[in-house]
Amino acid sequence: MKITQDKTKNICFLVIAGILALCPVLLNSGVISSSSFVTYIGKCICFCIVAIGLDLIWGYTGILSLGHGLYFALGAYGMGMYLKLQATDGQMTDFMKTGGLKKLPLIWSLFRTLPGTIVLILVIPAGIAGILGALIFRNRIKGVYFSIISQALTWAGYSLFIALSPYTNGNVGITEIQSVFGSIRGKRHFSNMAMLFYVSLAVLIVVYFLSEKIVKSKFGKILIAIRDGENRTYFSGYKVSAYKNTIYVISAMLAAVAGALFINFNGSVTPTQMTITYSITMIIWVAVGGRGTILGPVIGALLINLCEYNLSSGVLVDIWQYIIGGLFVVMILFFKGGLMGILTEQIPAAIRKRKASKPLDKEKQELQAH
């Protein structure tokens, strides 16, 4: 039963991926008229990746991080700087000159090549998460205290990126950049856009199955064990902090990958991505989709963002934030498993109950008839 359920989830994911894959095709054949919609779906794919990463640490390990926007933004800034340097031929950018820098800072000079950029996009967030995690988890800081620290960290990042204006262009962020494949705006650049879209989708598919593999392994079961009984896990001989730290690093790296892909679609990154609102929005995707499954966050991220695309521009624009907030509260209070939980547990349970009570009803009727 459990195995068939896992299979169903994977098939479900592949169907979703298949539908996503059709988007550029539909655009090309004219069924979808707006290319900005397809760009938006591209961004949603990135959101799915960060949501999976968040779920690994929250849904599976039970650690609520309210600061993944930091890692998302780090990935975006890294990739953004590479793209910017492409435009300036590896020379200083305008904002650096305005900021009074004499030459390209060493840290950014490492982002001149794509391979270097990709490595750093993974290594820098991993390093930061690894060091912070080591300090936090070794000292057994957990629960709400961890959440608060993670939130403070993303604020610290936000302030730092604004303060280091000559290096990061402060409030404005890195703007006016093209994707790795060149411009993706408009019908003329359809092939660039399609290429970027499919690369991102491929990354999502790899991340999905890799995460499935992680959670099905003994490592994944230890994560669940930590969530269900941290004490018992210690007393089963596991160095819990090492496990927490590993999953924190993996999840930070996924957020960075998502950020790096995102900026290709978005064309800019600003420190807003490091605000708390942004990190909490990510949490909502996971909560609504269903934590503790890999499929849940994918569905949550897609669904909420598609709703936002369709609803937040019309009459609902003023109350959209309230709807999202309300949905989050309802989910947390009544549907801990999110949509996935409703589909795989609550509905089957309701059906079973119905089936079980039916014969009883009959008996009652018969009794009354007599």
Partner: protein
């Protein structure tokens, strides 16, 4: 009783102070190998604190606990983190059943196996036939071999307790510590728990904290009575229960009728 039993663990002059409250005072005891040693005493006597000290959850203010290895050397447990103490073969069961509710009984057992505890090993671990046999054999000892695919969180109280005992056994520990294993069990379940412990004592040493006197009479080799953080009496069940001081301590508190 065989008096030649080797001492496997030495508790030496252990004192614990929590914010001025003296939870344990100068507790010294030797734990004999392959025996079932009980620590009994009224609430607040410091029994659970003593287990906390041995397994590394709490650090003593003074004194230490030493594990006597087969080769005659001694390892000081009170300086090690809990996961290292576990790896030395000192396992503990908590008072409330603490199994991994979201996982199957099989997975609960798999995680409790000895070895493969590092992150890297865990990522690439594959269960061997040998491990599977060991798990099934251990589950059989507690009468749960047919429960492998059940979700641990859905088991009833008794089965959770037995599963947790099985999780300790599968680590092949030298010492097993149980904190009120019979709490919340009915008479039959308590007896079954006692039988399980009697069956395993030739393979490991067992330390138990308990209130239920029938359970103590059923299986205890040795009883140590703690009161207000100090050792009151040490001896066989009869010796301990006939002791006037012990009776006063229990009866003076409104009494557990069995004592």
């Amino acid at each position: 009783m065989d008096d030649e039993a080797r001492t496997i663990m030495k508790i030496r002059r252990v004192s614990v102070v929590f914010d001025g409250f003296q939870a344990l005072t100068d507790v010294t005891a030797d734990i004999p190998e392959h025996k079932i040693s009980f620590f009994i005493g009224p609430n607040g006597a410091g029994k659970t604190t003593l287990l906390d000290i041995i397994c590394g959850k709490t650090r003593p203010t003074q004194g230490n606990v030493r594990l006597c290895n087969q080769d005659g050397t001694e390892t000081i447990l009170t300086r090690l983190p809990e996961y290292k103490i576990v790896r030395l073969g000192v396992a503990r069961k908590f008072q409330t059943p603490s199994v991994f509710g979201g996982l199957s009984v099989m997975d609960n057992m798999m995680l409790s196996l000895k070895g493969h505890k590092s992150v890297r090993e865990a990522l690439f671990y594959k269960m061997t036939e040998e491990d599977r046999t060991l798990i099934l054999d251990t589950l059989k000892q507690v009468g749960m071999e047919s429960y492998t695919e059940e979700r641990a969180g859905a088991l009833d109280h008794g089965h959770k307790q037995w599963l947790e005992i099985a999780m300790l056994l599968v680590q092949k520990p030298q010492i097993i510590m149980l904190d009120e294993p019979a709490a919340g069990m009915n008479k039959d379940e308590t007896r079954k728990t006692g039988d399980i412990l009697l069956a395993i004592k030739d393979r490991c040493t067992i330390i138990v904290i308990e209130h239920d006197m029938d359970f103590v009479r059923q299986i205890a080799d040795e009883v140590t009575v703690l009161h207000e953080g100090k050792i009151l009496v040490k001896g066989t069940v009869e010796e301990a229960l006939e002791n006037k001081e012990v009776q006063a301590v229990y009866l003076g508190r409104g009494g557990e009728k069995d004592a």
